[in-house]
């Protein structure tokens, strides 16, 4: 395999640019925020982070979702913690999200718009939650 240069990287990205502009105006992008303090790292948040990056990048409808990390959210007992803010969905904090749990969250929460109840740590009060527009 020939070495991937910065220039090649630029071209790869540019080739996908028009598509990106369309997605962004669509409002389909969202944000995944992963807690990666000492506790998160020790609990496997690095693997969780990678699992999200790879799962989203491989999915045409999700590759423009932002993946970010932050320090400890104060819930060390439930690491790795992941906050998911998708348009049309309440912002939800999930706990104990190991890499193996990522496909379920991607499938249910991101694609089908359904919460993965058994992993929810925190969500807005029920009367603030609006059903997702389809």
């Amino acid at each position: 395999m020939s070495k991937l240069t910065l220039e090649a990287l630029r071209k790869l990205r540019e080739a996908k640019r028009n598509e990106m502009a369309r997605r962004e105006s669509d409002g389909t992008a969202g944000t995944i925020l992963i807690g990666m303090g000492t506790c998160g790292i020790a609990a496997g948040a690095r693997e969780t982070f990678d699992a999200f990056v790879e799962a989203l990048a491989a999915h045409p409808g999700l590759k423009h979702v932002a993946v970010r990390q932050t320090g400890c959210m104060g819930l060390c007992y439930a690491e790795p913690t992941v906050e998911i803010a998708m348009p049309g969905m309440p912002t939800v904090l999930y706990g104990r999200v190991k890499a193996e749990g990522v496909p379920q969250i991607v499938e249910e929460h991101l694609l089908k718009g359904r919460l993965v109840s058994e992993r929810v740590l925190d969500k807005p009060a029920v009367d603030l939650m609006k059903p997702r527009k389809s």
Partner: protein, 183 residues
């Protein structure tokens, strides 16, 4: 205690970002002779000698982030790892100037941690501090690769989304294989 060097590095980069740095440099040098030398330096707010002493105490925290917390483990873990591996640790910090963390140990010491996934570490560090510059340097037996956040962000038109991060990870992985002679 963290399992790999990359886990320690991520912890230390997080400290630097939280110290308000606009520039963070991580350098990992594996020498021909088998030493591993690690330096994480930043131009953040720095610490007084008293604060630096407390930062090395695992049962101390400045309480800024989590007021009720009584532990701060990032630096103590790194120091413990270095010393367990028979190495030397140094912490230099000056208020208003920045902080530099250094560790050197034998790579073949039984208690030396494995490197871990460098490319994953780089991508995870890059998404931490938006708008700040990072230089993430890996050297193996004299062969060196430098990843600059600004360069990658420019080539990828931002590091905001999953696609950019997956591309960045691939790029860093190839750069790494090249210096390790596995390209």
């Amino acid at each position: 205690m963290h399992a790999t060097l990359c886990e320690h590095l991520l912890d230390l980069v997080q400290n630097a970002v939280e110290a308000g740095a606009s520039f963070v440099q991580v350098e990992v040098v594996e020498t021909e002779a088998g030493d591993v030398e690690v330096t994480v330096s930043d131009n953040g707010r720095g610490m007084t000698p008293e604060e630096a002493r407390r930062a090395l105490d695992p049962f101390a925290s400045d309480g800024r982030k989590h007021p009720a917390r009584r532990v701060g483990l990032g630096l103590p873990f790194f120091r413990q790892m270095v010393e367990q591996a028979g190495g030397e640790f140094d912490l230099r910090s000056e208020l208003g100037v920045g902080t530099s963390v250094f560790g050197r140990y034998r790579g073949d010491h039984p208690d030396a941690p494995p490197m871990g996934e460098w490319s994953d570490f780089v991508v995870q560090a890059l998404v931490l501090g938006e708008g700040l510059e990072m230089a993430l340097i890996r050297e193996w037996r004299g062969r060196r690769v430098v990843i600059r956040r600004s360069e990658l962000a420019e080539a990828l038109q931002g590091l905001g989304d999953a696609e950019a991060l997956a591309l960045a990870r691939r790029y860093v992985g190839e750069q790494e294989r090249e210096i390790l002679g596995k390209g």
